[in-house]
Symmetry: D2
Subunit: 348 residues, 4 copies
């Protein structure tokens, strides 16, 4: 099987593994207070041009989201998300399990706007019985979104401005952040994110780490006693060093960005090839996830040789598929897939 | 001011007060284990033709909803509700605060159908990554709905059938149940509810009690150790007798039904009068809440003399208003209101 | 049966009932925003000499405790309580159900000291792995305690001082506050409580109301958006006026204090009588709860005629009993009980 | 520095690393549904002689405890633990954060008995107001305990019997299980644990893995939909394969047991050496943690060269220290430490 169904079915990037091997015999402090985590923190602060940011390493994305969001909200507050946001759809109610409602804004590609946020905020405070309703407390974005769309700097500045005016925290889920920051059309940087958000995370798992996400908190109000939250939610690994070590590997020689950019390039090959065959896409994505709408029969045949995700039917005979690339995807695989699609197109 | 903004701005129905006075000098057992609560339980079981039902008295509706729903769901389960359901909109996230997501079905008048429920259920189990999503565990209905609509027996039978086939609990919020069961077009009875639902509550507060709701649990699986839940949620009143006493008063000589029916009659006077003047309604209601769409200017003037709720604008010049009746509403007040609307219609 | 098992088995104090009757025909605003609640708030602020205090009325004690404590603590914080504190022992884990640990200080009579608090605080911050432990965030006292003991002004000043130095909130559960403030040996007043605590509640249920507790919040940090908490926890009664009305009755002409003082007087009759017969007490109480240690056989016989609580055996033949008085207890009942004890003493 | 302060300051056991390297280029299914996790599950089931057990891999111990315990308890139930149990003392209130009280049994060495459990159970059900109290729902043991003590087969059989009679679930935290099962005096096996408990976990982190614990659930009632719990709590790693791979390494050629046994042997060297010098121990441990009581001055000097944990003073001049061994500890280090202690003894 040639695998395109996600970007985390592979092992570690070779450089990540190399770092794990070369540091294995050391003994260090524990619970992420070791020298590797400290170095990785310094590196990330430097890349973000945020010398006072708090940087924490957590094992996975859901854990990072639930810890950060629950640490930020008061008990009667909820978090604003797009209707297809990961926390709304794919975390088994982890946010609600921590006591908080997800307040959704309808969205197809997963993006929401400054206006959306202002509207949801205004409508809460305009209501005379607002204390009978969940108060918005935070905005949750994903960049890129679950459908591969990215935010421009202008859009994020506008969102940040609304959030600061309304005293809503702004938090960005960057599970696939590298793919956003290296996509065609992107003009955001890590330091923009640090300047515009109250907190965001730099995803490791989907960028060649075995596990681990780097949570960056820039708002002082959210920093205090944060390790208590991490521990209480079970996210404080005893041998926390392995998280720091992997981020050291990922950010050595810009590996995070070069691998992301290369994965995007491979996704663009796929996008262009499928477009050339006359097929359309559910949403336009410049990142490593592509959502072509293909004949269901074709997908059925392709599924014998390739793995990909079924994102639902658009009509009786067509289905949205998701194909992902990552550092481990070969150009060869893309070419083979495109050739097979082209061949099937003729026979169906 | 003549009050129509809700059905709980008055005191107790005189008969309720009478019962409170006549029992005041007794000393009894506490925490709702007294003779009055026991008698009220028996009376309710009998009216429901449900001799094995568990009947509990709780102080208010939100408390009853959060206690019953959280007692029924497993931690990873959510409750299905209409998008305008009270638990979704007006309980400050009480259900989420207990750890559970509300899974919504879009609805204008607050009703949902058996098909809606089947669809939400099927789509969960059809998803390969369903364990990444909240599992439906219960269906929450309001009868009448927040917009005064009622369920027919046929509709409730269909919903109950789907719920039993899919092992979803069915729970009905009857904050205004009396108004539903005595409305034109209703063919449901308390015993139908007992037979078709796993649990429901008979509202007291909006039917002439000072406070109190009677929760009826018919499914054995939901009965066990229920008083632990009530206590843990702070809903076990020390002098619980006052809840039982009020329900004894409400069900003596059918008071609950006669006052509800009379409140509906007054609401129909209002509906017919407004309809005759050529105005339409946001939704058609045969119960004690009416939602006429009136000129915003007219409502502005009416608000000097009457209280009512503003339910939002439909266009630049028209607004949905909510007018409620109850046992304490006088026919005279309805007539005065209609006369004022008619007079204003001519001048605006 | 002559009832001594608690102080809430009776109905409302006649004056409370009178107020409920005389206000019953009014229509008012709802959710405790009515004129009666407002007057009661003013009266309580005035009695507390705390013009800026927030005053909220909630239906019961457990609800008040869980709402106030959960609104005050951060997710990783716990509340310090005596080992026999109501929140630790008799609220079915309501505090834990809101996510917080109760950090206990061993105590026989329910009192804790400033030194106890300092010790528990110091030991947390002295521990290098403190982020692996629950951080103390609040101190919970009951006055009188569950065993009838009271705090002196000197003791409460010392506790308040430690709390302010350590940034722990101080909250006093006053379910039976009237009995403390009118007890022999008491030198505290409502205004002392307002000055020394961050929040406390004045119990209504155990002082002649049918239900209701008045929560007084003096610390500005704890006031914000408090009604959201009340609503989310289901404690916002629609006809909230009945809570305000009852407190107006209780504080009219000092009723709260005169009835409490009189209940204490009756408890002292009991205490002196039992002492005179040579029996000892589990703890010394000057309030309306008395805990004599009596022969188990005697209690067995007394239980045919009197109700009282069994608080556990002290040895094979002796048991601690709890006898409570309140406004409705008659002097006659006390005398009869003492006579019966005296008579039984001779025969056993 | 020579490190004895814990058993997780080192990297992976070389064999674990070898497995990670040799499997790194594979692509697999995700979320622990890959072939390595499946093989590791089979291996563990086989070692436990529990062919129907559910086996799940979670990243860490606190996460495993909170997921398993919260999945087992009803909302009004609590978990019984020793007063020094990890969940009571060192998980930042993770159990309470999931809504449950920890019901403690005083213990010095961390062990509790069948009698203790029976007593706590009986006292709950004997109380007339039991619904005002947290109901025991599960028993939590650690083996070895936090102080290195182990349970005998006879003790565990007695505990299991009480648990089954009282319908309490029995769950064993095996963070250091290997050290228990290979200790002098142990007569328990993995299959005994599977037969006697409802669930237990086999610790990886403290036995040479980088992270990961294997949760074994034998009671069918606790198996259903367990992956929803794992996901909701953020414990479902995307590249879950790394957990399975490590357990394959740990159980290949009995590595788990041979390294544990060897670590115990080194701990015994230390124990015998310190004993020979005339010092006593806080508790007697045959496992890899040793708790000698040493002169505080000596420890102060030792701390320049060695790391170890300070477990508190026993008197003005003596302190309990914790020294841990693991696979990476060298015999040489033990000998050096003993020599230093002996030398210091003479000078102090």
């Amino acid at each position: 099987m040639i695998r395109f169904e996600n970007d985390y079915g592979c092992g570690a990037h070779p450089n990540v593994l190399k770092w794990m091997i070369k540091t294995n015999e050391d003994t260090t402090d524990v619970y992420s207070e070791d020298c590797y985590c400290d170095k990785a923190r310094e590196l990330i602060r430097s890349l973000c041009q945020a010398p006072n940011a708090a940087v924490h390493f957590l094992p996975g994305g859901t854990m990072t989201n639930l810890t950060m969001i629950a640490a930020s909200l008061l008990p009667y507050q909820g978090v604003i998300s797009s209707s297809v946001g990961h926390i709304e759809v794919h975390e088994t109610g982890a946010i609600e399990a921590k006591g908080h409602k997800v307040l959704t804004i309808p969205s197809k590609d997963g993006k929401i706007t400054a206006e959306d946020i202002q509207t949801i905020y205004d409508s809460h405070y305009a209501d005379a019985s607002r204390e009978h309703m969940v108060q918005p407390g935070m905005v949750y974005l994903t960049n890129p979104t679950e459908y591969g769309a990215i935010y421009t700097k202008e859009e994020l500045i506008a969102i940040s401005k609304v959030c600061r005016e309304t005293e809503l925290y702004l938090y960005v889920d960057g599970a696939r952040l590298g793919y956003a920051l290296t996509a065609e059309g992107n003009d955001l940087t890590l330091s923009d994110l640090a300047a515009l958000c109250d907190a965001f995370y730099i995803g490791g798992t989907k960028h060649g780490a075995l596990l681990g996400e780097a949570l960056v908190i820039t708002n002082d109000k959210l920093k205090k006693h944060f390790r208590y939250y991490i521990k209480q939610n079970g996210a404080l690994l005893a041998k926390g060093r392995i998280l720091g070590i992997q981020f050291l590997a990922l950010f050595e020689d810009d590996l995070y960005f070069t691998t992301s950019k290369d994965a995007n390039r491979k996704a663009m090959l796929l996008k262009e090839g499928i477009t050339a065959l006359g097929y359309s896409f559910y949403v336009d994505s410049n990142t490593n996830q592509q959502f072509p709408i293909l004949p269901s029969k074709m997908l059925n045949i392709l599924s014998k040789k390739y793995t990909f995700s079924d994102m639902g039917k658009v009509d009786d005979t067509h289905t949205i598929a998701r194909f992902c690339t990552n550092f481990a995807t070969s150009d060869e695989d893309i070419k083979t897939l495109l050739a097979d699609i082209a061949a099937l197109q003729k026979t169906l």
